[in-house]
Protein backbone atom coordinates (compact mmCIF):
# COMPACT_ATOMS: atom_id res chain seq x y z
CA UNK A 1 0.00 0.00 0.00
CA UNK A 2 1.48 3.33 -1.00
CA UNK A 3 1.87 6.25 1.33
CA UNK A 4 -1.04 8.57 1.36
CA UNK A 5 -0.21 12.22 0.71
CA UNK A 6 -1.12 14.65 3.43
CA UNK A 7 -3.84 16.98 2.27
CA UNK A 8 -3.79 19.14 5.37
CA UNK A 9 -0.87 21.29 4.34
CA UNK A 10 -2.89 22.39 1.33
CA UNK A 11 -5.94 23.41 3.33
CA UNK A 12 -4.97 27.03 4.04
CA UNK A 13 -4.37 27.84 0.39
CA UNK A 14 -7.40 25.94 -0.85
CA UNK A 15 -9.46 27.92 1.64
CA UNK A 16 -7.94 31.23 0.55
CA UNK A 17 -8.62 30.53 -3.12
CA UNK A 18 -12.16 29.31 -2.44
CA UNK A 19 -12.88 32.37 -0.30
CA UNK A 20 -11.75 34.73 -3.03
CA UNK A 21 -13.54 32.71 -5.70
CA UNK A 22 -16.93 32.51 -4.00
CA UNK A 23 -16.77 35.63 -1.84
CA UNK A 24 -18.54 33.74 0.93
CA UNK A 25 -17.10 32.01 3.99
CA UNK A 26 -19.43 29.05 4.24
CA UNK A 27 -19.77 28.50 0.51
CA UNK A 28 -16.00 28.55 0.29
CA UNK A 29 -15.52 25.97 3.03
CA UNK A 30 -18.22 23.79 1.49
CA UNK A 31 -16.26 23.92 -1.74
CA UNK A 32 -13.09 22.95 0.11
CA UNK A 33 -14.93 20.11 1.82
CA UNK A 34 -16.24 18.84 -1.52
CA UNK A 35 -12.74 19.11 -2.96
CA UNK A 36 -11.31 17.01 -0.14
CA UNK A 37 -14.04 14.41 -0.56
CA UNK A 38 -13.35 14.23 -4.26
CA UNK A 39 -9.61 14.04 -3.66
CA UNK A 40 -9.99 11.16 -1.21
CA UNK A 41 -12.26 9.32 -3.59
CA UNK A 42 -9.90 9.78 -6.53
CA UNK A 43 -6.58 9.53 -4.76
CA UNK A 44 -5.71 6.49 -6.85
CA UNK A 45 -5.72 8.69 -9.94
CA UNK A 46 -3.18 11.09 -8.55
CA UNK A 47 0.36 10.39 -9.76
CA UNK A 48 2.77 10.34 -6.83
CA UNK A 49 5.51 12.82 -7.50
CA UNK A 50 3.30 15.10 -9.55
CA UNK A 51 2.11 18.41 -8.16
CA UNK A 52 -0.53 17.60 -5.55
CA UNK A 53 -1.44 21.26 -5.11
CA UNK A 54 -2.18 21.72 -8.82
CA UNK A 55 -4.24 18.54 -8.78
CA UNK A 56 -6.31 19.73 -5.82
CA UNK A 57 -6.92 23.08 -7.47
CA UNK A 58 -8.00 21.24 -10.61
CA UNK A 59 -10.55 19.26 -8.61
CA UNK A 60 -11.79 22.46 -7.02
CA UNK A 61 -12.07 24.17 -10.39
CA UNK A 62 -14.16 21.30 -11.78
CA UNK A 63 -16.47 21.38 -8.77
CA UNK A 64 -16.81 25.13 -8.95
CA UNK A 65 -17.69 25.04 -12.64
CA UNK A 66 -20.30 22.36 -12.01
CA UNK A 67 -21.83 24.42 -9.22
CA UNK A 68 -22.14 27.42 -11.50
CA UNK A 69 -23.78 25.34 -14.20
CA UNK A 70 -26.33 24.06 -11.75
CA UNK A 71 -27.02 27.42 -10.22
CA UNK A 72 -27.92 29.24 -13.39
CA UNK A 73 -27.68 29.14 -17.17
CA UNK A 74 -24.48 30.47 -18.71
CA UNK A 75 -24.57 34.16 -18.07
CA UNK A 76 -24.38 36.74 -20.74
CA UNK A 77 -21.91 39.11 -19.28
CA UNK A 78 -22.10 42.75 -20.08
CA UNK A 79 -18.85 42.44 -21.93
CA UNK A 80 -18.10 46.08 -22.38
CA UNK A 81 -20.49 47.77 -20.00
CA UNK A 82 -18.00 47.48 -17.18
CA UNK A 83 -15.10 48.93 -19.06
CA UNK A 84 -15.52 52.50 -18.09
CA UNK A 85 -12.91 55.17 -18.70
CA UNK A 86 -9.83 54.60 -16.72
CA UNK A 87 -8.26 57.23 -14.56
CA UNK A 88 -4.90 56.98 -12.92
CA UNK A 89 -5.12 53.44 -11.64
CA UNK A 90 -4.08 54.25 -8.11
CA UNK A 91 -4.32 51.04 -6.16
CA UNK A 92 -2.94 52.03 -2.80
CA UNK A 93 -6.23 53.15 -1.35
CA UNK A 94 -8.21 50.07 -2.35
CA UNK A 95 -10.06 48.44 0.45
CA UNK A 96 -10.73 44.73 0.78
CA UNK A 97 -14.37 45.59 0.12
CA UNK A 98 -13.52 47.19 -3.22
CA UNK A 99 -11.63 44.08 -4.20
CA UNK A 100 -14.46 41.78 -3.14
CA UNK A 101 -16.99 43.78 -5.12
CA UNK A 102 -14.84 43.99 -8.21
CA UNK A 103 -14.06 40.26 -8.11
CA UNK A 104 -17.74 39.42 -7.78
CA UNK A 105 -18.43 41.37 -10.95
CA UNK A 106 -15.82 39.54 -12.99
CA UNK A 107 -17.01 36.63 -15.11
CA UNK A 108 -16.03 33.43 -13.28
CA UNK A 109 -13.56 32.29 -15.91
CA UNK A 110 -11.67 35.55 -15.63
CA UNK A 111 -11.90 35.57 -11.85
CA UNK A 112 -10.35 32.12 -11.70
CA UNK A 113 -7.39 33.08 -13.86
CA UNK A 114 -6.80 36.32 -12.01
CA UNK A 115 -6.82 34.53 -8.65
CA UNK A 116 -4.72 31.55 -9.71
CA UNK A 117 -2.06 33.84 -11.13
CA UNK A 118 -2.27 36.95 -8.98
CA UNK A 119 -3.11 35.41 -5.61
CA UNK A 120 -2.06 31.77 -5.74
CA UNK A 121 0.99 32.49 -7.88
CA UNK A 122 0.58 29.67 -10.33
CA UNK A 123 2.62 30.00 -13.51
CA UNK A 124 0.64 30.57 -16.70
CA UNK A 125 1.19 27.00 -17.88
CA UNK A 126 0.22 25.60 -14.46
CA UNK A 127 -2.93 27.72 -14.41
CA UNK A 128 -3.74 26.43 -17.88
CA UNK A 129 -3.35 22.88 -16.62
CA UNK A 130 -5.58 23.53 -13.61
CA UNK A 131 -8.30 25.06 -15.79
CA UNK A 132 -7.91 22.59 -18.66
CA UNK A 133 -7.45 25.31 -21.29
CA UNK A 134 -4.53 26.34 -23.53
CA UNK A 135 -1.99 28.79 -22.12
CA UNK A 136 -3.06 31.32 -24.75
CA UNK A 137 -6.54 31.27 -23.28
CA UNK A 138 -5.13 31.90 -19.82
CA UNK A 139 -3.25 34.92 -21.15
CA UNK A 140 -6.25 36.44 -22.87
CA UNK A 141 -8.49 35.89 -19.82
CA UNK A 142 -5.82 37.34 -17.57
CA UNK A 143 -5.53 40.37 -19.79
CA UNK A 144 -9.26 40.96 -19.82
CA UNK A 145 -9.58 40.37 -16.08
CA UNK A 146 -6.83 42.82 -15.21
CA UNK A 147 -8.07 45.53 -17.51
CA UNK A 148 -11.62 45.10 -16.28
CA UNK A 149 -10.47 45.24 -12.67
CA UNK A 150 -8.49 48.36 -13.50
CA UNK A 151 -11.53 50.00 -15.02
CA UNK A 152 -13.78 49.08 -12.10
CA UNK A 153 -11.36 49.99 -9.40
CA UNK A 154 -10.22 53.23 -10.95
CA UNK A 155 -13.76 54.52 -11.37
CA UNK A 156 -15.09 53.19 -8.09
CA UNK A 157 -15.20 54.63 -4.61
CA UNK A 158 -11.55 53.84 -4.10
CA UNK A 159 -10.55 57.22 -5.40
CA UNK A 160 -13.08 59.13 -3.38
CA UNK A 161 -12.09 57.30 -0.21
CA UNK A 162 -8.42 57.70 -0.82
CA UNK A 163 -6.73 58.70 2.38
CA UNK A 164 -3.34 60.27 2.46
CA UNK A 165 -1.69 59.45 5.73
Amino acid sequence: MRTRPDLIEHLPRLRRYARALTGDVSRADDLVQDTLERALAKLDLWQPGSDLRAWLFTLMHNLFVNQIRIRRPPETVMEDALDEPVSGGQMEALTARDIHDALARLPEEQREVLLLVGLEQFGYAEAAQVLGVPTGTVMSRLSRARERMRAMLAGGPAIKLKVVK
Partner: protein, 257 residues
Protein backbone atom coordinates in the same frame (compact mmCIF):
# COMPACT_ATOMS: atom_id res chain seq x y z
CA UNK B 1 -0.32 48.37 -28.33
CA UNK B 2 3.33 47.83 -27.84
CA UNK B 3 5.66 46.98 -30.72
CA UNK B 4 8.72 45.72 -28.97
CA UNK B 5 7.27 44.41 -25.75
CA UNK B 6 4.38 42.05 -26.14
CA UNK B 7 1.45 42.41 -23.79
CA UNK B 8 2.13 38.89 -22.49
CA UNK B 9 5.50 40.11 -21.39
CA UNK B 10 3.96 42.95 -19.43
CA UNK B 11 1.95 40.39 -17.50
CA UNK B 12 5.00 38.18 -17.02
CA UNK B 13 6.87 41.25 -15.81
CA UNK B 14 4.17 41.89 -13.19
CA UNK B 15 4.07 38.23 -12.17
CA UNK B 16 7.83 37.86 -11.92
CA UNK B 17 8.03 35.43 -14.81
CA UNK B 18 10.73 37.09 -16.93
CA UNK B 19 14.41 36.31 -17.08
CA UNK B 20 16.60 38.91 -15.44
CA UNK B 21 17.86 40.17 -18.79
CA UNK B 22 14.41 40.53 -20.27
CA UNK B 23 13.09 42.13 -17.11
CA UNK B 24 15.63 44.94 -17.44
CA UNK B 25 14.69 45.46 -21.09
CA UNK B 26 11.02 45.65 -20.18
CA UNK B 27 11.79 48.14 -17.43
CA UNK B 28 13.63 50.30 -19.92
CA UNK B 29 10.65 50.07 -22.25
CA UNK B 30 8.26 51.07 -19.48
CA UNK B 31 10.35 54.09 -18.62
CA UNK B 32 9.70 55.35 -22.12
CA UNK B 33 6.05 54.27 -22.33
CA UNK B 34 4.04 55.77 -19.48
CA UNK B 35 0.71 54.24 -20.51
CA UNK B 36 2.11 50.73 -20.35
CA UNK B 37 3.90 51.62 -17.14
CA UNK B 38 0.58 52.73 -15.61
CA UNK B 39 -1.06 49.47 -16.64
CA UNK B 40 1.74 47.37 -15.23
CA UNK B 41 1.62 49.36 -12.00
CA UNK B 42 -2.13 48.91 -11.73
CA UNK B 43 -1.87 45.15 -12.34
CA UNK B 44 0.85 44.79 -9.75
CA UNK B 45 -1.37 46.78 -7.39
CA UNK B 46 -4.18 44.30 -8.03
CA UNK B 47 -1.93 41.41 -7.01
CA UNK B 48 -1.03 43.27 -3.82
CA UNK B 49 -4.65 44.09 -3.11
CA UNK B 50 -5.64 40.45 -3.56
CA UNK B 51 -3.04 39.40 -1.03
CA UNK B 52 -4.07 42.16 1.34
CA UNK B 53 -7.70 41.08 1.10
CA UNK B 54 -7.29 37.30 1.35
CA UNK B 55 -4.00 36.34 2.97
CA UNK B 56 -5.62 36.54 6.39
CA UNK B 57 -7.49 33.34 5.46
CA UNK B 58 -4.18 31.49 5.64
CA UNK B 59 -3.92 32.24 9.34
CA UNK B 60 -7.48 31.45 10.29
CA UNK B 61 -8.02 28.47 12.53
CA UNK B 62 -8.73 25.49 10.32
CA UNK B 63 -12.33 24.31 10.63
CA UNK B 64 -12.18 20.95 12.33
CA UNK B 65 -14.58 19.30 9.92
CA UNK B 66 -12.07 19.96 7.13
CA UNK B 67 -9.16 18.75 9.22
CA UNK B 68 -11.11 15.65 10.13
CA UNK B 69 -11.84 14.92 6.47
CA UNK B 70 -8.15 14.96 5.63
CA UNK B 71 -7.58 12.46 8.43
CA UNK B 72 -10.29 10.09 7.34
CA UNK B 73 -9.22 6.68 6.11
CA UNK B 74 -9.71 6.50 2.36
CA UNK B 75 -11.13 3.19 1.33
CA UNK B 76 -12.18 1.40 4.41
CA UNK B 77 -11.93 2.38 8.01
CA UNK B 78 -9.75 -0.18 9.80
CA UNK B 79 -11.94 -2.72 11.46
CA UNK B 80 -10.22 -2.11 14.78
CA UNK B 81 -11.25 1.54 14.76
CA UNK B 82 -14.83 0.76 13.89
CA UNK B 83 -14.97 -1.87 16.58
CA UNK B 84 -13.50 0.48 19.17
CA UNK B 85 -15.94 3.22 18.27
CA UNK B 86 -18.86 0.85 18.36
CA UNK B 87 -17.76 -0.53 21.70
CA UNK B 88 -17.62 2.97 23.14
CA UNK B 89 -20.98 3.84 21.68
CA UNK B 90 -22.60 0.72 23.01
CA UNK B 91 -21.08 1.26 26.42
CA UNK B 92 -23.56 3.95 27.19
CA UNK B 93 -22.83 6.78 24.83
CA UNK B 94 -25.76 5.88 22.65
CA UNK B 95 -28.07 6.46 25.55
CA UNK B 96 -26.19 9.61 26.32
CA UNK B 97 -26.51 10.95 22.80
CA UNK B 98 -30.14 10.00 22.45
CA UNK B 99 -30.88 11.52 25.82
CA UNK B 100 -29.62 14.83 24.57
CA UNK B 101 -32.23 14.82 21.87
CA UNK B 102 -30.15 17.18 19.80
CA UNK B 103 -28.89 15.17 16.86
CA UNK B 104 -27.19 18.22 15.39
CA UNK B 105 -24.98 18.49 18.42
CA UNK B 106 -23.90 14.90 18.46
CA UNK B 107 -20.29 15.82 17.61
CA UNK B 108 -19.90 17.06 21.17
CA UNK B 109 -20.31 13.54 22.46
CA UNK B 110 -17.17 12.42 24.25
CA UNK B 111 -16.22 9.95 21.54
CA UNK B 112 -15.85 12.87 19.13
CA UNK B 113 -14.10 14.92 21.74
CA UNK B 114 -11.37 12.30 21.98
CA UNK B 115 -11.09 11.87 18.24
CA UNK B 116 -11.02 15.58 17.47
CA UNK B 117 -8.46 16.15 20.19
CA UNK B 118 -6.29 13.36 18.78
CA UNK B 119 -6.59 14.83 15.29
CA UNK B 120 -5.67 18.30 16.48
CA UNK B 121 -2.74 16.81 18.35
CA UNK B 122 -1.56 14.87 15.31
CA UNK B 123 -1.84 17.92 13.10
CA UNK B 124 -0.10 20.51 15.21
CA UNK B 125 2.30 18.75 17.55
CA UNK B 126 4.81 17.80 14.81
CA UNK B 127 5.02 21.43 13.64
CA UNK B 128 8.61 22.54 13.95
CA UNK B 129 8.21 26.18 13.12
CA UNK B 130 4.67 27.09 14.13
CA UNK B 131 3.47 24.59 16.69
CA UNK B 132 1.58 27.33 18.50
CA UNK B 133 0.01 30.64 17.59
CA UNK B 134 0.95 32.35 20.85
CA UNK B 135 4.01 31.19 22.73
CA UNK B 136 4.39 30.69 26.45
CA UNK B 137 6.41 33.88 26.82
CA UNK B 138 3.04 35.57 26.55
CA UNK B 139 1.26 33.07 28.74
CA UNK B 140 -1.04 35.60 30.42
CA UNK B 141 -2.11 37.00 27.10
CA UNK B 142 -2.52 33.49 25.72
CA UNK B 143 -4.78 32.35 28.53
CA UNK B 144 -6.80 35.57 28.47
CA UNK B 145 -7.19 35.43 24.70
CA UNK B 146 -8.25 31.78 24.57
CA UNK B 147 -10.55 32.29 27.57
CA UNK B 148 -12.28 35.14 25.82
CA UNK B 149 -12.75 33.21 22.60
CA UNK B 150 -13.86 29.97 24.21
CA UNK B 151 -16.09 31.81 26.64
CA UNK B 152 -14.89 30.69 30.03
CA UNK B 153 -11.95 31.37 32.28
CA UNK B 154 -9.41 28.80 31.16
CA UNK B 155 -6.37 27.68 33.06
CA UNK B 156 -3.30 26.12 31.54
CA UNK B 157 -2.32 23.39 33.98
CA UNK B 158 1.18 23.35 35.34
CA UNK B 159 3.03 20.18 34.35
CA UNK B 160 6.47 21.23 35.51
CA UNK B 161 6.42 18.51 38.20
CA UNK B 162 6.03 16.01 35.36
CA UNK B 163 8.80 17.63 33.31
CA UNK B 164 6.62 19.41 30.76
CA UNK B 165 6.70 23.13 30.11
CA UNK B 166 3.98 25.14 28.43
CA UNK B 167 4.97 25.83 24.84
CA UNK B 168 1.96 27.95 23.97
CA UNK B 169 -1.46 27.57 22.47
CA UNK B 170 -3.69 28.07 19.52
CA UNK B 171 -7.32 28.58 18.68
CA UNK B 172 -9.19 26.11 16.50
CA UNK B 173 -12.79 26.02 15.44
CA UNK B 174 -15.11 23.11 16.08
CA UNK B 175 -18.79 22.34 15.73
CA UNK B 176 -19.57 23.61 19.20
CA UNK B 177 -17.60 26.78 18.74
CA UNK B 178 -14.03 27.81 19.43
CA UNK B 179 -11.56 25.28 20.73
CA UNK B 180 -8.43 26.05 22.73
CA UNK B 181 -5.36 23.91 22.39
CA UNK B 182 -2.50 24.21 24.87
CA UNK B 183 0.76 22.55 23.95
CA UNK B 184 3.46 21.33 26.32
CA UNK B 185 6.91 20.01 25.66
CA UNK B 186 9.48 18.15 27.75
CA UNK B 187 13.26 18.29 27.60
CA UNK B 188 13.48 15.77 24.77
CA UNK B 189 10.83 17.70 22.86
CA UNK B 190 8.05 15.23 23.30
CA UNK B 191 4.77 17.09 23.11
CA UNK B 192 1.37 16.72 24.66
CA UNK B 193 -1.67 18.87 23.98
CA UNK B 194 -4.66 19.82 26.07
CA UNK B 195 -7.80 20.43 24.07
CA UNK B 196 -10.67 22.38 25.65
CA UNK B 197 -14.04 23.10 24.16
CA UNK B 198 -17.59 23.78 25.21
CA UNK B 199 -19.66 20.66 25.67
CA UNK B 200 -23.31 20.33 24.85
CA UNK B 201 -25.50 22.07 27.40
CA UNK B 202 -26.76 19.76 30.10
CA UNK B 203 -23.94 17.35 29.49
CA UNK B 204 -23.48 14.96 32.36
CA UNK B 205 -20.03 15.14 33.84
CA UNK B 206 -17.98 12.14 32.97
CA UNK B 207 -15.24 10.42 34.82
CA UNK B 208 -11.88 10.04 33.23
CA UNK B 209 -11.96 8.12 30.01
CA UNK B 210 -9.18 6.81 27.90
CA UNK B 211 -9.01 6.18 24.18
CA UNK B 212 -6.34 5.47 21.62
CA UNK B 213 -6.87 7.18 18.28
CA UNK B 214 -4.38 6.26 15.55
CA UNK B 215 -1.63 5.73 18.08
CA UNK B 216 -2.40 8.89 20.05
CA UNK B 217 -3.32 8.30 23.69
CA UNK B 218 -6.20 10.51 24.78
CA UNK B 219 -7.48 11.02 28.31
CA UNK B 220 -10.65 13.03 28.38
CA UNK B 221 -13.40 14.14 30.68
CA UNK B 222 -16.25 16.61 30.89
CA UNK B 223 -16.45 19.02 33.78
CA UNK B 224 -19.03 21.76 33.99
CA UNK B 225 -19.80 23.02 30.52
CA UNK B 226 -16.49 22.00 29.08
CA UNK B 227 -14.87 18.97 27.59
CA UNK B 228 -11.16 18.45 28.16
CA UNK B 229 -8.88 16.04 26.33
CA UNK B 230 -5.19 15.48 26.87
CA UNK B 231 -3.40 13.85 23.93
CA UNK B 232 0.10 12.56 23.48
CA UNK B 233 2.31 9.71 22.38
CA UNK B 234 4.51 9.34 25.42
CA UNK B 235 3.19 6.05 26.76
CA UNK B 236 0.04 5.41 28.66
CA UNK B 237 1.58 5.58 32.15
CA UNK B 238 3.14 9.00 31.60
CA UNK B 239 -0.04 10.26 29.97
CA UNK B 240 -2.06 9.04 32.91
CA UNK B 241 0.13 11.02 35.33
CA UNK B 242 -0.25 14.19 33.28
CA UNK B 243 -3.97 13.68 32.94
CA UNK B 244 -4.29 13.19 36.71
CA UNK B 245 -2.37 16.39 37.31
CA UNK B 246 -4.50 18.31 34.79
CA UNK B 247 -7.70 16.94 36.22
CA UNK B 248 -6.70 17.81 39.79
CA UNK B 249 -5.68 21.33 38.90
CA UNK B 250 -8.59 22.10 36.62
CA UNK B 251 -11.27 20.61 38.81
CA UNK B 252 -9.89 22.40 41.84
CA UNK B 253 -9.97 25.65 39.94
CA UNK B 254 -13.43 24.97 38.60
CA UNK B 255 -14.90 24.19 41.97
CA UNK B 256 -13.55 27.33 43.57
CA UNK B 257 -15.94 30.22 43.12
Amino acid sequence: MTDDVHEHELHAYVDGGLSEARRLEVEAWLAAHPADAARARAWAGQNQSLHAAFDAVLNEPLPLNLVRTTRRPVMSMPFKTVAAMLAMLVSGLVGYAIGLNHPGQAPAAPVYLARDAAIAHAVFSPEARHPVEVDAAHADHLVAWLSKRVGTQLHAPDFSAQGFELLGGRLLSGETGPVAQFMYQDRVERRVTLYVRRAVAGNPETAFRHATENGVEVFYWIAGDFGYALSGQIGRGAMQQLADAAYQQLVTVTVKP
